[in-house]
Symmetry: C2
Subunit: 324 residues, 2 copies
């Protein structure tokens, strides 16, 4: 089979690609070719694999001829992130809405109704005066995005559901939780500290936590997120239950629980590298995010939450060793 991963050089995309190549098959079919589409080059461990073809340019520009590939399956992870979309409204619409539509039209034009998994986001949820957000959002919660990123993800979910209803593709949308611990440098995202307060101390650096330690948030690990995307791909339509989006499982943790876990794994001195410097702007953004999420439909597919935050930290440490 011939697969496409958009955003395949990214944090989640490259891990998904590595796993699929290691397993050699998906949904019982041998993977003959894996196309990685991304703005950036994937790691050499991916690009050197003989089954991998890298296409390094904006996805929108690739869509014109994409129908010629007749992919059997697609993981659509390419996306401008939350902060970028708030700073540049047109960029967000182009990167997220227009690009997704161009991709869907290319797959429709191919004519073979390929299976597609779309990485949506817990960012589709938000509070609205007419729709107060529950502390724990579920598959049944009315999405009311409070960012352009969340709005575009939600619009794409519905577009994908309609292309699926028409038989142009066999699409499924999975809402990802905040994936931690991200490697690398802090980025401009308001959620950056959810990784920073673990990553920096483990590297013997001071980290600033801009919110109070009772802030709660639904997170997941890279490996369980990759597992979630794969399972959603392999689910039958009946098991998936219709065409609406599902939440992937989350571990609902407070900042304090994250730091307790850090201390359990790495000791008190490491935890003490985290300093609290309250940042009003970031705290205000975070207060619009869900405090937790449930995932009943994902559980029906056999998916589960990370068992605790310690396991997420241990995965990060093992991952770093693998890279190093």
């Amino acid at each position: 089979m011939k697969l496409l991963i958009t955003g395949g050089a990214g944090f989640v995309g490259s891990r998904l690609a590595m796993r699929l190549l290691a397993e050699g098959e998906l949904y019982g079919q041998k993977i003959d070719k894996l196309v990685i589409s991304d703005q950036f080059d994937p790691p050499t461990s991916l690009s050197s694999n003989p089954k991998v073809e890298c296409r390094t340019s904006p996805l929108l520009s690739q869509c014109e001829v994409l129908h010629e590939d007749r992919f059997d399956g697609v993981f659509h992870l390419a996306s401008a992130v939350s902060g970028e979309c708030e700073d540049d409204f047109d960029l967000g619409l182009r990167s997220n809405l227009d690009t997704t539509r161009a991709l869907l039209d290319a797959l429709r034009r191919a004519g073979n109704s390929p299976r597609l998994v779309f990485s949506s986001s817990v960012a589709v949820y938000g509070p609205d005066p007419a729709h107060p957000m529950p502390d724990t959002v579920s598959d049944q919660t009315l999405p009311m995005p409070q960012t352009s990123y969340g709005t575009q993800k939600l619009m794409c979910e519905h577009l994908i559901a309609d292309y699926t209803r028409k038989g142009f593709i066999d699409g499924r949308s999975a809402r990802l939780m905040t994936v931690t611990v991200r490697p690398g440098k802090p980025n401009g995202a308001a959620s950056s500290f959810f990784s920073g307060i673990i990553r920096e101390p483990l590297n013997a650096e001071v980290a600033i936590c801009p919110v109070k330690d009772n802030v709660a948030h639904p997170v997941s690990s890279p490996s369980l997120t990759v597992q979630g995307l794969k399972t959603v791909y392999e689910a039958s339509r009946e098991d998936f239950l219709g065409r609406s989006a599902i939440n992937l499982p989350a571990l609902n943790v407070t900042v304090k629980q994250m730091l307790d876990a850090l201390e359990n794994v790495a000791g008190k001195s490491v935890r003490e590298l985290v300093k609290f410097e309250f940042n009003e702007r970031i705290a205000a953004i975070v207060s619009n995010w869900p405090k937790g999420a449930s995932a009943q439909r994902a559980a029906r597919l056999g998916l589960h939450s990370p068992k605790n935050f310690e396991s997420i930290i241990e995965e990060f440490i093992a991952d770093q060793k693998g890279v190093g």
Copy 2:
């Protein structure tokens, strides 16, 4: 003030235009100019009004220069209808999604954050295996469209909410119920019979009802729909409650109640012109539609349902006399 009504030559649009011109003001501001944009020419009663400027061409082609107008307010009613969108997928996306986005970008470019009322639809609701639809859909019901038309309306609701959040426009979305009794000929819409079973008998013609008489549906009258759009325009943001869409009030009636009302207004012989010929295809489509709708937020704004179906029939009869 300078107003734009897109789809202003249509069934609801032309009635809204007539009413606004008759009242001469909106939201306490004198109406100096009313631009009617439509694919078709509006009735002479509108086009002959010195305050009216008609622009007769596809709205999408008008959007390029629309920022120059700097409208104070917009009623965006232009839309391809449900049946058209099912028959021609690209037409639906172009007429509903692309055109709305081009309109929003023109208003954003104008830079004066105009107020905009968008006519969304009860078609955003539908049953999904994971989200069974309640018999009566409310403002709180999770929309799960089962048509391209409903999908595009829902996507536009969220797009408008985000343009509003960014301050580019001051937008509000109101979900219209099925507006009856439509004048003219039957059209290809599956809902056509909801008007036909009243209109044809009143014109001494036989009408075919393709569904059983226990089928229930949320309907409203042209005048209360126009009132709803005007009230939503005039509502403060606080009274409207946030940026999510609201249902306009509905009268939830069965076909039997509609025909009882017809008999009450026009007599038994008129009712007997309605023949039942069950049509599996139409019945299947209708079974995916809400059986009723509630409108708690509209009620907060002082809007109410038609008091009974007799009043809707009487409005139609009076309206026909006015035209004739």
